[in-house]
Symmetry: C2
Subunit: 173 residues, 2 copies
């Protein structure tokens, strides 16, 4: 809001805050590509916010297929793996942002990129973050966050289209 | 495609073709506003295509509440009314485009606006037109095309998010 007020005072339009939900899938990479090539403009002062939502670590006892309780070591390993995936996804997304900035030859107007990694249910977290971060647009792929979960809960993108406080752009591969 | 090839030959990026589905609702006006203020840029050579889909006229016998068949005069009157609504919606949308062009002070770069009025089921027609018109983006409100139809068939925007060949942007009021 501070930046927006300053830009308004200077008679400029404030840059737009574009929230891109990234995950492991190709569609989210395409969504980010679309955003960088077609929408976000560093010269306009836009900010691209990369958001990755990783699932909450299991805090209660979980039975594996053979009926044994997961040990603490196993849940810790799952959590560690999830953090590593988050790091890899975010790193790839950041590289893409840098690549597009260079391609655009906008070195004097480098794209502002913010990274957020949140934990929880992707559907609700993405919508909450869209509001909290003052996003002007939410960009995402249509099929993110896993087949089985989608079959059970409906797609994350459907939920966000209905519940996010800003316009939502869905990119399909 | 011809314009695109020419632009590519001249070393310019071709303007984007932005299909905006308009209807009687406020959300579609908001979607168009969003498109004009945030996305479409006359100076980039973008084209805004306004698409209104009106329902097919009843071609078979329809019973009214009292059990009488609709006469030909009645179906003709319904069809005439539907055309008038189409004209009114499209006119309002065109005025909004002109207004934004003037506000932007882009009189030397006036926004290219095309108008299409199609007849049929909005869901399928919008998706077909997105492909046929080579749209780079489809913009629409989330609640268009009537409450009862939506309750029966699901929302038009849900269908388009899943079936359109290009990225889809949904704007809510």
């Amino acid at each position: 809001m501070g930046g927006e007020a300053a830009a308004a005072a200077a008679g400029q339009e404030p840059g737009r805050r574009i929230l891109v939900a990234v995950d492991e899938g190709d569609e989210s990479v395409q969504a980010l590509r679309w955003c960088l090539s077609t929408f976000a403009a560093a010269a306009r002062g836009d900010t691209v916010i990369l958001l990755y939502v990783r699932p909450a670590p299991p805090t209660y006892s979980v039975l594996d297929a053979s009926g044994y309780l997961f040990s603490e070591e196993v849940t810790a390993a799952i959590d560690r793996y999830s953090r590593e995936v988050a790091d890899a996804v975010v790193e790839k997304a950041q590289k893409l942002c840098t690549l597009y900035s260079k391609e655009e030859g906008e070195s004097h107007h480098e794209m502002k990129v913010e990274v957020k990694v949140a934990v929880g249910d992707a559907r609700t977290v993405i919508c909450q973050m869209a509001g909290k971060l003052g996003a002007d647009l939410l960009v995402m792929g249509s099929h993110g966050y896993g087949f089985f979960k989608r079959a059970l809960l409906g797609s994350v993108s459907d939920y966000c289209v209905k519940n996010a406080s800003c316009p939502v752009l869905i990119v399909k591969s």
